[in-house]
């Protein structure tokens, strides 16, 4: 049945670039430390996006998702993204 599936699911992670201040991450790190969680080095907060795409041509879907990430789902000025197709 898996082979008959006519859509793919892209799991996209968008993170603030290392050079961009992430005050949410810093605040959550302080909260974890104040709760006595040990050894917290860094916390950074980004977004997780799922997109379902009709199609069976994996390369074409990959290209389309990459384009969507670049143009809309992330802002390359402040963010970077990775994704996997399932």
């Amino acid at each position: 049945m898996v082979n008959n599936r006519s859509f793919m699911k892209a799991k996209i992670i968008v993170m603030p670039k290392r050079t961009v201040l992430d005050p949410q991450g810093k605040t959550v790190k302080h909260a974890l430390e104040s709760m006595k969680f040990q050894g917290i080095q860094e916390v950074r907060i980004g977004k997780f996006i799922e997109v379902e795409v009709a199609g069976t041509d994996r390369a074409a879907v990959r290209q389309q998702i990459d384009d969507a990430c670049h143009k809309l789902l992330s802002n390359p000025v402040i963010e970077e993204y990775t994704f996997e197709l399932q």
Binding site: P16, T19, L21, P23, T27, N75, V77, I78
Partner: protein
């Protein structure tokens, strides 16, 4: 001078801008719906404050793809004047008509306050009526007003005199205290403070008038 104010779902400073331009300054002013593909021959486009498309994904990210924004980009490329206020500034950055981006305030708090900003350059259509270094008292109301750009971009902005406004006491963590920048052509201006909400003494400040007076003065010179 003919002004056009773009309205998005979620704009909420459009009528304030209309009041300032039409009633206070007596200029012909019209609204332009975000789905319009033309600007109706206006001379200056205003992208007002608010929460276009609910600020979903990122502030200004969805508005960027409105039909009206394509017309605004064409207008800007042809040298037409564009001013983006607050959410309008965020949209201009997402559209890449201005460099950089506006991210969450360093405090993580939404800030609603009057702040002092210094006019850093009077060499623009938007600040020419001010004195160099003049300090204006203007309201801000934003959660994502922290200006960010890579060091090379900041250097370029400084070198080319494109930082038009800086905060006197940086309220949001903006790099280089930037409150407003213009493009290389100096015809597109984005700022986080709201000049339209400071256009009459009864509002607590009329310092914002200087921005609109500058635009009108530029129009008079051009004529």
């Amino acid at each position: 001078m003919r002004f056009g104010i773009i309205q998005f779902p979620g704009s909420n400073c459009d009528q304030d801008c209309h009041h300032a331009l039409a009633t206070v300054f007596g200029q012909p002013t019209r609204y332009i719906w975000h789905k319009d593909t033309g600007l109706g021959g206006v001379d200056c486009v205003v992208l007002p404050g608010g929460f276009s498309y609910g600020d979903y994904l990122r502030t200004g990210a969805i508005a960027r793809f409105s039909p009206a924004l394509k017309a605004v980009a064409d207008h800007a490329r042809a040298g037409g004047l564009v001013i983006g206020i607050c959410n309008g500034f965020q949209i201009l950055c997402e559209t890449h008509l201005l460099p950089g981006a506006l991210i969450r305030n360093r405090s993580l708090k939404f800030i609603c306050d009057h702040v002092r900003v210094r006019v850093e350059s009077t060499n623009s259509a938007f600040t020419n009526a001010a004195r160099p270094g003049q300090v204006l008292r203007l309201p801000i109301a934003h959660g994502e007003g922290c200006y960010f750009a890579e060091p090379a971009v900041l250097e370029e902005l400084r070198r080319d005199d494109r930082v038009l406004l800086r905060y006197v006491d940086n309220p949001n963590g903006s790099l280089d205290h930037i409150a407003g920048v213009c493009n290389a052509g100096r015809n597109v201006f984005g700022l986080m403070p709201h000049p339209e909400r400071a256009s009459e003494a009864i509002l607590g400040s009329d310092d914002g008038c200087l921005i609109f007076e500058s635009i009108l003065r530029r129009a008079a010179v051009a004529r």
